[in-house]
Amino acid sequence: MSLESLYQEIILDHYKRPKNKVLQDKYSVEVHHNNPSCGDEITLRVQVENQIVTQLSWDGVGCSISQASSSVMSELAQGIPVEKALELEVSFLELMQGKGQVEADEEELEDAVAFSGVARYPARVKCALLGWMALKDALLRAGGSK
């Protein structure tokens, strides 16, 4: 494993230019999650209409992994059915907890496969999951079933 496989260009790009990182006024649910062992934080707002995630915005502080992962998540989960977004979360979680042994499904996870390398650094897994855990929480509160 090299540092480059952990910090892929796509991650550093999202870190420097995060997507959807301006909290929007329109939302059905807002959640706030943090990572008590490092102090990283995220506030996530989702707007759900007819079981579709129509809008998703966030703000937060944290390391490159947590910020980039939240940014990628905010793109992937936008405009798709709640159930589909929850499935994405499950797939990403599996990838992260796979200790580097789980093959990523690029078709499904798209840019999020860039985080495959994180799975080899157990201490960073929770960074990559911060945004996704907030997403899951928000969608379940917004009425998604799981």
Partner: protein, 417 residues
């Protein structure tokens, strides 16, 4: 039923080859106090320190990752050993701490709807044969909360007396704290009627499994209790580590006794919120090496087989009980049959004080325990000041039982009784 291959097993415990008191072979029969440790346990601890030592859950570096893996790996072993979930396993320093943790979980400062709310209207039920570790914390809780301390008495053969269970355990009862096996009489508690009654009235149940988990198969799913605890050092594990198992739903609602680092969800200078169990109950840099050592200890026991260990002890116990009954003046506390009985055998010898019995046995290399065994209320009930106690484990042999019996006869000779 068959005996274990103790020749093989004893090679794992080098201390058993030691001599004491002018070259006598050590005959270690103080296992109910603490057990000896196999080399694999010492090696596991040493390997942790020599190769992976770092603060678990606290660093982004490789050693911290490895230390975390080792520590959490140990938790998984501990969970498996009693068929529990890892998230329900809390590492403490000892069973004593574990019981105190639960006793502090109860408080009269909580809302009356909280399962851990306790007040003057409630009672706490213990038994007369509890070890001080499973009595004093409840006395203190009673004092703090105003709740009443009640207890089940004992039968003629030093078992828990359940004849008045319906009045002692009643709808005011918050918790029943009870031993799984007496460290004095060896009696194995017949849990079913007690658990049934506690469930009827909605009381929680804590099981002191210090003398059972190291000696026989225990499955928390079959016990139907809420908390269970034991100490690593009695289960061929290191000193300085204990286990508290609790039901997830309850751990989630229970307040921690000890607060500090790494058990928070958030903290400001004025207040803090807690992380989920087990972290909530493990403030501070944990006893990592000891947890790892306990993991190795339980793997060792599992490899030998808990059912086999139990049977081995039953055979030794039977031999000892029989032999002791053949010595006039010996009075055994509790059951004289090895059925439903662990290997702790307490007895008195007419005309010789237990200390003096122990002293003479020690001179023959035989290590037993004398005194009240931290169960003073039971002694008071039995009208005794002290007893002598022999207790066996997987590495003890029938020959050692015989040396012990010979020793008791020597005591009689020495004191001319």
């Amino acid at each position: 039923m068959a005996l274990l291959d103790t020749n093989l097993i004893r090679q794992d415990f080098p201390i058993l080859g030691r001599t004491v008191r002018n070259g006598k072979k050590l005959v270690y029969l103080d296992n109910a106090a603490t057990s000896q440790k196999p080399i694999v346990v010492l090696d596991a601890e040493r390997n942790f320190y020599l190769n992976h030592n770092a603060a678990a859950h606290r660093g982004a570096h490789l050693l911290a990752e490895e230390a975390t893996d080792a520590f959490e790996g140990a938790r998984a072993i501990v969970a498996d050993f009693i068929s529990a979930q890892s998230s329900e396993i809390i590492f403490t320093k000892s069973a004593t701490e574990s019981i105190n943790v639960v006793s502090y979980g109860f408080s009269n400062h909580l809302s009356k709807h909280d399962p851990f709310y306790i007040g003057a209207e409630h009672n706490i039920v213990v038994t007369q044969l509890e070890h001080h570790a499973n009595l004093l914390p409840w006395q203190q809780l009673a004092k703090r909360s105003g709740a009443k301390l009640s207890w089940l008495g004992i039968t003629a053969d030093a078992q828990i007396d359940i004849s008045n269970i319906d009045s002692v355990i009643n709808d005011k009862t918050k918790i029943v704290a009870i031993t799984h096996q007496s460290n004095v009489s060896g009696a194995i508690t017949q849990l079913e009627p007690i658990v049934k009654r506690a469930r009827e009235v909605g009381a929680m149940i804590l099981l002191d499994a210090c003398q059972s988990v190291p000696h026989m198969p225990v499955d928390v799913n079959k016990l139907n209790v809420d908390f269970l605890t034991y100490s690593g050092h009695k289960a061929v594990g290191p000193t300085g580590v204990g286990v508290l198992w609790g039901r997830s739903e309850l751990l989630e609602k229970m307040e921690p006794m000890i607060t500090g680092g790494s058990m928070i969800d958030s903290a400001t200078i004025e207040s803090a919120t807690w992380a989920k169990a087990p972290k909530k109950f493990e403030a501070g840099v944990p006893n990592m090496a000891q947890a790892v050592g306990l993991g190795a200890a339980l793997n060792y026991l599992t490899k030998i087989g808990m059912e086999k260990i139990h049977q081995h002890e039953e055979l030794l116990t039977e031999r000892a009980l029989k032999g002791l009954q053949d010595i006039s003046g010996v009075e055994i506390i509790g059951s004289k049959s090895s059925l439903n009985r662990g290997s702790a055998i307490s007895f008195t010898l007419e005309g010789v004080h237990p200390h003096d019995v122990g002293q003479v046995l020690d001179d023959y290399g035989i290590a037993v325990r004398t005194g009240h065994h931290c169960a003073w209320p039971l002694m008071q009930e039995l009208k005794l000041n002290a007893t002598t106690r022999a207790s066996f484990y997987l590495y003890n042999t029938p020959e050692e039982v015989d040396i012990f019996l010979d020793g008791v006869r020597e005591v009689k000779k020495f004191f001319k009784v």
